[in-house]
């Protein structure tokens, strides 16, 4: 415990270094901005801005991106409430009660509740993170390649079991990402693999950032252009300091839902594939179930705004737990952060805590600070962000496109990659229109090389005996859990059918 406190203290000091504190402010602002723009969420912001962070050292870079992640969770609520369209998928549940409140002229109350709940959710989860991360990382030091591989199988299984998307399509998406990760020279035998059309450019492989920016930058913008058609209508919001102060009194009406959302969000967030969106929906559902007045939900109950907002912030921190301790990302956003860590020259995984303590604790310290900064910026700048929302898409779209193209070029110095990015963006858009989930592909291209290496290491070590994955207790447990998760949708379907049969 003492070690944790000392390290945390050092991390906090690090967070207050001028560059880092500037990064926190910049990240929170950028996050609030991408979060509140409809169609753009944390994952898009992190993907598009990652190349720019090569300007600064890794610790400052991850602090910026983590603050952005965080800020986006706050920002999502702004458009959910004032526009009635979620600023990001993580804020979908906030629309349910946020929109009715705005229609009743109580948008400022809803915005305030969202900010306060986000703050509590964020604080609870960062404390849980500080307590859980070091022991988990220490435990994970025992992992060999077998356990690593089993954990990754488990991560993909959660997408199949809990992702809620069409199962064959999810499997296709995962496998596509894993195969694309193998393009280029094989790390073990040195042979070139999957060099399409004999183009030498493929020998360097397809960078994860090319795929991530293609899907979350280009593809997402095309998707947003389609769904909004550039037209949005806004509710009037009256915000004055007097009203903001008065709104603090409402806190007693939603404090219970906020606690619930905070804890639930953290634990759901740690599961890969689950992440902030399901966490906020579950939190909304549970808060409604436990409420004394469930009928008022969906008609403008302030607790219905607080519950999902606390959960999505808590989940964003939660999803960093497996990323930092195990090297397995808990959400698409953390998958991109993990890929970024590899580019920065860090080795994600349990050793990160011992090899780069400054990086890890600087990040943790910054999360505490970012939480304060975001809530202050958020409340102070609500009027400004409402004006930002009125910004037409014909201005934002070309800027984002330019950032995507130049960002990819800046990471690899090749025009070839920008073409691949455009193709992937279009393909991602077309696939997404048919309900193919794209997040698993991004996660898979990040984890692909790690998963292949650990699988082959295990098999070389065991002389090709597949049983090596089942003979080690931790690995076996993960695989059993993975199997359970993969069969969960089938079991669910069978039970539903039986129930339907019994009722008929």
């Amino acid at each position: 415990m003492d070690i944790i406190l000392t390290s945390l203290g050092a991390g906090l000091l690090q967070a207050f270094e001028p560059l880092n504190i500037f990064m926190i402010f910049a990240g929170c602002l950028a996050g609030l901005f991408v979060g509140c723009m409809p169609g753009l969420g944390s994952v898009n912001g992190v993907a598009i801005l990652l190349p720019i962070t090569f300007l600064v050292p890794p610790t400052a870079a991850i602090i910026f991106l983590a603050a952005l992640y965080y800020g986006a969770m706050y920002g999502g609520a702004i458009s959910s409430i004032t526009l009635g369209i979620p600023g990001a998928s993580t804020a979908v549940a906030t629309v349910f009660d946020g929109r009715p409140m705005a229609q009743q002229g109580k948008a400022d109350k809803a915005l305030m509740a969202a900010a306060v709940a986000s703050f509590i959710g964020g604080t609870v989860s960062v404390i849980l993170f500080t307590l859980f991360a070091p022991p988990l990382a220490a435990f994970a030091l025992k992992f060999g390649p077998q356990e690593e591989f089993a954990l990754m199988v488990l991560a993909f299984a959660t997408f199949i079991g809990l992702g809620g998307d069409d199962i064959p399509k999810t499997i296709f998406s995962i496998l596509l990402g894993l195969v694309l990760a193998a393009v280029g020279f094989d790390i073990i035998s040195g042979q070139p693999r999957l060099i399409f059309f004999d183009m030498v450019e493929f020998q360097r492989g397809i960078g994860f950032l090319v795929l991530a920016i293609g899907i979350y930058g280009i593809g997402e913008m095309l998707w947003t252009l389609e769904s909004t058609n550039g037209q949005i209508a806004m509710h009037k919001v009256k915000v004055t300091w007097a009203r903001i102060k008065a709104n603090f009194g409402d806190i007693k009406h939603y404090i219970n839902s906020t606690w619930l959302g905070s804890f639930l969000g953290f634990f759901v967030g740690t599961l890969p594939a689950a992440g902030a969106t399901p966490a906020s929906l579950m939190s909304y559902g549970l808060s409604k179930t436990f409420s004394k007045d469930p009928d008022s939900y969906g008609k403008g109950n302030i607790a219905g705004v607080a519950a999902p907002e606390a959960a999505n912030n808590a989940a964003s921190t939660g999803s960093m737990l497996p990323m930092i301790t195990l090297g397995i990302p808990g959400s698409p956003t953390t998958a991109i952060l993990l890929g970024g860590m590899v580019i920065w020259g860090l080795r994600p995984g349990p050793l990160l805590f011992t090899e780069s303590p400054d990086f890890v604790w600087g990040l943790i310290g910054s999360m505490y600070v970012a939480n304060f900064v975001t809530v202050l910026l958020n409340i102070a700048m609500i009027p400004l962000f409402i004006r930002v929302l009125a910004m037409p898409f014909s201005i934002l779209t070309p800027i984002i496109f330019v950032l995507c193209v130049l960002g990819v070029y800046a990471t690899t110095d090749r025009m070839f990659d920008t073409w691949i990015m455009l193709l992937i963006g279009i393909a991602g858009y077309l696939l997404r229109k048919l309900n193919y989930p794209v997040a698993p592909a991004v996660l898979a291209i990040v984890l692909g090389p790690l998963a292949e290496r650990s699988m082959r290491q295990s098999l070389i070590g065991s002389q090709g005996d597949v049983m090596t994955f089942f003979e080690r207790p931790i690995s076996l447990t993960c695989l059993i859990l993975a199997f359970g998760l993969m069969s969960y949708p089938l079991v669910l379907k069978y039970m539903r059918n039986r129930k339907a049969g019994a009722n008929a």
């Binding site: 095309l222 389609e226 070029y409 309900n435």
Partner: protein
């Protein structure tokens, strides 16, 4: 094209892609099984996973015939006329942007791209248009070339030489 048709076509396309990947591994002569004394072959991972992709694609096609997915029952247009316009225009503009980057260089391409989007598509006033048309290349230059020290594509030599004047000025004045 309806969503229903699109789903079938996409199922077939994904199946072909998967088979193509398997063929690619095979034609490269990579070992898909165990190499005696060496461990798993280089082709093992991509080959068997591509097979999995093919099976998943096949499952989607089978489910299409059974009408199991909502998409396979939907007769809505896959891409509506309005969407076709806005998305099509964006894709063509991006395509042109990338092409122009290699011919006339990043900065001139940026000017044209921003002008097209802001003035012609967005129909914004001249003040907004000129701010973005001039501001974006300046910002990009400062961010990528000065701060990140990245040499962005300057196009064919004739355009590149023209642009070097700016770089020369920068080095004369600031270094």
């Amino acid at each position: 094209m309806t969503v229903r048709t699109a789903e079938l076509l996409m199922g077939i396309a994904t199946l072909l892609v998967s088979l193509g990947l398997m063929l690619n591994v095979h034609l490269d002569g990579l070992t898909i099984g165990w190499v005696e004394g060496r461990g798993p072959g280089a082709g093992m991972w991509p080959f068997w996973l591509s097979l999995g992709m093919a099976l998943a694609a096949l499952a989607t096609i089978v489910r299409w015939f059974m009408g199991a997915t909502p998409e396979s029952r939907s007769t809505d247009p896959y891409i509506s006329q309005e969407t076709m316009f806005i998305v099509g225009v964006s894709v063509v503009a991006l395509f042109a942007f990338l092409l122009l980057m290699t011919i006339i260089g990043t900065y001139l391409a940026l000017v044209l791209f921003m002008f097209f989007y802001v003035r012609i598509i967005g129909r914004h006033g001249w003040a907004m248009t000129s701010a973005l048309v001039i501001g974006t290349p300046v910002f990009v230059y400062l961010l990528f070339e000065v701060a990140l020290t990245k040499y962005l594509p300057k196009g064919w030599p004739i355009f590149e030489e023209g642009f070097l004047v700016i770089d020369n000025l920068r080095y004369e004045w600031f270094y």
